[in-house]
């Protein structure tokens, strides 16, 4: 039997066919898929054996006298809900917080945010906060929709790619590969990245700029475009608003003046600006390099400014492509698992919340909830007493993990639902064993807004249950859900709750998926957004002044550290580190240091160095390389034994509340 489902790793959402011939299963890319056209990366081919790890959670566990004890589902669910209820009774609904997961399905995210809101709180958030919350907020502000404007296949019509803050071939390998094949055909490529990534090596122009100076870089490119008259005037006149205020701001950013900030010589800025201005359509791909800053939302809006300035929206080959990290970041955000948005990006304080009061037949909270990091702070302050967390591992992945630890240790009730005993789950009072995405049914929405069907391939281990089932049982016991029969049942409600999903059904999204909005107007879905108008009428230019990152170098902390992932590991390693081949390829943490810097500091390849920030320190092996610019170091965040997030401070973007994972001032001590 060959089962068609979606790869559980990144937001590209490659469709995989798992063919079980006998005991061993073959994984192949689905050749009809418009997403991956039969191709896969190493994680798709060799990354799925975590599913069979003997370490999978098989039974509900409760911590008694510091030790986990096996209990029945009945006991676990009753204990969890009884305690939640008494906390709500004693301290009010805002004493409870929910952390959903971009690894879970749309149906599950929908259920968790609904649970939070029916309990009476908007304290619902998930890891999209730490990756693409600036995208949702920024692009909704400028364009009216927080999502990629085109499709992966539309990149075939692109003439120039601008990739900023994305190591695409490592993090969205199949999209990266698409760029590689297009460049082989002669398409132009500009890469803006402090690291010399594989795409940077293939690029016509590599702008190796200083971390955190994105706005200065983008503004100076736009300065040249306007100065040299390369903007798309008819697009600006007919489709946008706010141009003159924006232009006035940008005119403060001549490349000659910006070089001192970005480190990029003016001639290179001009070259890039001329390429963007002349070789259209241009597609702009970005990822965490843009968003994980205290100016993350402004960075996103400045990307949007550039697309609007050059008329690169609404046509095949053009557009803005925020590349989603987790497989279902787009979907979990669409479902409203965010503290400021109800499903379909309805703001907590909007009149449209009335609609959900009717749909769910309940009075709903109208105040902004806590973001991920705020939840832990509130827990440390004693304001949040209980957290119900599904499929996340914040003790590894959140910024300023010492604060996260403090918060968790202060909780009266910490419920964790996961497929493994993660570092975070180890601190829980109650652990609920969930199934992996290879063992359940539902939908994921990929980085190009494509809603795709997830199908069960394997039987669940032990007594582990699907997340939707657990949420449903919890909701019933809390007296807030009348009960759902199946993921399909939940999806039917999503269709009513989220306008862009209204036309999607389990039947019509199989096997190829459909891109939202899918509705009466667009029954086949929508490949390219904003072709004739924007959801907000005219798109908005937003002037974005440059501001320094939260941390700057000084005499003591004289290096900038940026954090991120590598090709083989995935986030906190819960899956990838239990996958033999992936873990073999990247078995341990490292710090990338430029050759020149290493020489000066007398650091040899593979020797240990201490990396110390103003917040903490780690000891880690040096990887001396030319791929990173002098003055900058890179550390991946996958490794629990070397938690780089001990070094990341708690400064967040004021608009999106995303922490600044990408700019940390550090000192290297050999």
């Amino acid at each position: 039997m060959a089962t068609l489902t979606v790869c559980p790793y990144c937001g590209t959402g490659c469709q995989i066919l798992i063919d079980e011939l006998d005991s061993s299963a073959r994984v192949i890319g689905y050749s009809r898929s418009p997403v991956n056209e039969g191709k896969l990366c190493v994680k798709g081919y060799s990354g799925l054996t975590y599913n069979f790890s003997k370490e999978r959670l098989r039974y509900p566990l409760v911590k008694r006298e510091g030790k986990f004890t096996r209990i029945s589902w009945e006991e676990a669910l009753n204990e969890a809900t009884t305690k939640l209820r008494s906390i709500v009774r004693d301290y009010g609904p805002d004493a409870v917080a929910f952390q959903s997961s971009a690894k879970c399905t749309n149906e599950e995210n929908y259920l968790m945010q609904k649970m939070a809101r029916l309990v009476g709180t908007n304290n619902i958030d998930h890891c999209a906060r730490s990756c693409h919350s600036p995208t949702a907020l920024g692009l909704i502000e400028t364009l009216g929709a927080g999502a990629a404007t085109g499709s992966i296949s539309s990149l075939e019509d692109t003439k120039t790619f601008l990739i900023i803050g994305s190591n695409t071939t490592e993090q969205h390998p199949i999209i990266g590969a698409k760029v590689v094949t297009e460049v082989k055909k002669g398409k132009k490529l500009i890469v803006a990245d402090p690291r010399r990534t594989q795409l940077a090596e293939l690029a016509d122009i590599h702008l190796q700029f200083r971390p955190g100076t994105d706005v200065a870089l983008l503004n100076s490119i736009m300065y040249v475009i306007i100065r040299d008259g390369l903007q798309d005037t008819s697009f600006i006149d007919s489709r946008t608003s706010g141009f003159s205020a924006f232009r006035d701001e940008v005119m403060n950013y001549p490349p000659e003046k910006m070089e001192i900030i970005t480190g990029i010589p003016p001639q290179m800025i001009e070259k890039a600006a001329h390429l963007i201005g002349s070789e259209r359509p241009v597609a702009i791909l970005y990822a965490m390099g843009i968003t994980q800053h205290i100016h993350g939302t402004e960075n996103v809006m400045d990307v949007s400014n550039l697309a609007l300035l050059t008329g690169n929206i609404g046509k095949r080959g053009s557009g803005i492509f925020p590349l989603r990290g987790q497989n279902n970041v787009q979907g979990s955000s669409d479902m409203g698992a965010l503290s400021e948005f109800y499903p379909g990006y309805v703001r907590y304080d909007s009149d449209k919340v009335d609609f959900f009061e009717k749909l769910w037949n309940s009075k709903l909270p109208r105040t902004r909830g806590l973001s991920l990091s705020e939840m832990f702070e509130a827990a440390a302050d004693g304001k949040v007493k209980a957290i119900y967390l599904m499929g996340e591992n914040p003790l590894i992945t959140e910024a300023s993990v010492t604060d996260v630890e403090k918060g968790i240790d202060s909780l009266d009730l910490f419920i964790v639902q996961d497929i493994f005993m993660t570092t975070t789950a180890g601190r829980a009072h109650i652990v609920l064993p969930a199934t992996s995405s290879l063992e359940k049914e539902g939908t994921f929405t990929n980085t190009e807004r494509r809603i795709q069907k997830v199908s069960r391939v394997y039987e669940r281990p032990g007594e582990a249950m699907e997340d939707w089932w657990i949420l449903n049982e919890m909701g019933k016991r809390l007296g807030i859900f009348k009960g759902y029969d199946s993921p399909r049942d939940v999806f039917e409600e999503i269709r009513a709750a989220v306008p862009g999903y209204s036309g999607a059904t389990y039947e019509n999204i199989f096997p190829l998926g459909k891109q939202w909005p899918i509705n009466d107007e667009n029954p086949e879905g929508t490949e390219i957004l904003h072709t004739r108008s924007f959801p907000i009428g005219r798109a908005r230019f937003v002037p974005t002044p440059y501001g320094d990152p939260s941390e700057v170098v000084d005499e003591e902390y004289n290096f900038i550290m940026t954090t991120g992932r590598n090709y083989f590991q995935w986030h906190s390693g819960t899956m990838s580190r239990r996958t033999d081949i992936l873990d073999r390829e990247s078995p341990e943490a490292y710090v990338e240091i430029n050759v020149e810097d290493a020489k000066k500091l007398n650091i040899r390849n593979s020797s240990f160095v201490t990396v110390r920030s103003r917040h903490g320190s780690i000891r880690v092996k040096a990887r001396v390389t030319e791929r990173i610019m002098p003055g900058v170091v890179f550390v991946p965040f996958h490794f629990e034994e070397v938690r780089v997030n001990l070094l990341v401070g708690n400064q967040v973007d004021k608009i999106s509340r995303i922490p600044e994972f990408k700019v940390v001032a550090v000192r290297l001590i050999p």
């Binding site: 011939l21 061993s24 009809r32 990266g176 590689v180």
Partner: protein, 305 residues
């Protein structure tokens, strides 16, 4: 022996084989040709399968602390290029790898011979698509199925109408006329260690391993322990951790590893086993996300470099 059968007689042949074997075949599911259990010959798809069904002999994952599977299986619809992979592999691992050997000896492949070249394929370069070594080989000509059987299996064809090879030969020469072989002869001497090709490939390669996993002649595996199991899993020589030593991989950079793959295919195996480790199936090209083409390794003008 060569016989000619019609569709109904093919069902009869299938029934005869089904008495002795568990039957599998290339079938279409979700628009993709995969391998699955079948109970009738008519279920078999004649289209090129999505992948070379290596797992009939080398499992994707396998516990080597177990006894080899000796179920007798018959696999219908495997293409000549994919089957040829096993005959080439035999020279290296048959009789040495107990799992492979047990399955090889208990599996009957009924291969389908293409009469038109698939997109990108170049099997005629390696003598395809009609195989010299086979168990039961089928060439379809409209309503007629020409069935070639080796001595061991000709008993299953008893009573069916005998034929000669002339029509098959005719079809094969037409095939070769339409898609002439590439000039692979002597590549083991022409190929260049310092060719620019390897660096070019490395600049594009995303190390996914597809070329290995899709290849009907790649047989390397990784070995690791998982609790009470010792598992071997398909591996990829493109990855840095492949054949790692205490000093790491002796081929530290990606271009060296890519070169090793092609040298293994076109130089070392040829010199040590007398054959190229390639069947012209084009699967590594089909599955490569960045369109690296093994044909370029054959046709590249090394001399002018």
């Amino acid at each position: 022996m060569i016989n000619v059968l019609n569709a109904r007689e093919m069902e009869d042949l299938f029934s005869r084989l089904r008495k002795d074997y568990e039957t599998f075949g290339a079938v279409e599911e979700n628009g993709e040709v995969v391998f699955d259990k079948i109970s009738r010959f008519s279920e078999v798809s004649e289209k090129k399968s999505r992948y070379a069904p290596k797992e009939f002999l080398i499992s994707r994952n396998e516990n080597v602390l177990s006894t080899p599977d000796t179920t007798r299986k018959a696999v219908f619809g495997i293409k000549s290029c994919d089957l040829k992979g096993f005959y080439i592999m035999d020279k290296q691992i048959l009789g040495k790898d107990p799992f492979y050997t047990a399955k090889r000896n208990n599996t009957l492949f009924v291969n389908f011979v293409c009469t038109e070249q698939c997109a990108g394929g170049f099997c005629s370069t390696f003598g395809g698509p009609l195989l010299e070594e086979y168990q039961i080989q089928v060439v379809r000509d409209g309503e007629n199925y020409y069935v070639l059987s080796s001595d061991e299996f000709s008993k299953y064809l008893d009573g069916f109408k005998e034929a000669d090879l002339s029509r098959v030969d005719e079809m094969m020469s037409k095939f070769k006329e339409m898609s002439p072989p590439l000039n692979v002869e002597g590549i083991e001497n022409r190929i260049k260690w310092n060719s620019i090709l390897w660096k070019n490939f490395a600049s594009e390669c995303i190390s996914c391993g597809a070329c290995n996993y899709s290849c009907p002649t790649c047989y390397c595996f990784d070995l690791y322990d998982r609790d009470d199991e010792r598992l071997r899993e398909w591996d990829s020589c493109i990855l840095g951790g492949f054949t790692s030593t205490s000093a790491g991989n002796v081929r530290n950079s990606l271009d060296e590893r890519l070169r090793q793959r092609f040298y293994h295919k076109f130089v070392y195996y040829k010199k040590s086993r007398g054959e190229y480790l390639c069947t012209g199936c084009n699967r590594c090209v089909d599955d490569c996300p960045v369109e690296i083409d093994i044909k370029e390794v054959i046709t590249h003008d090394y001399q002018s470099e």
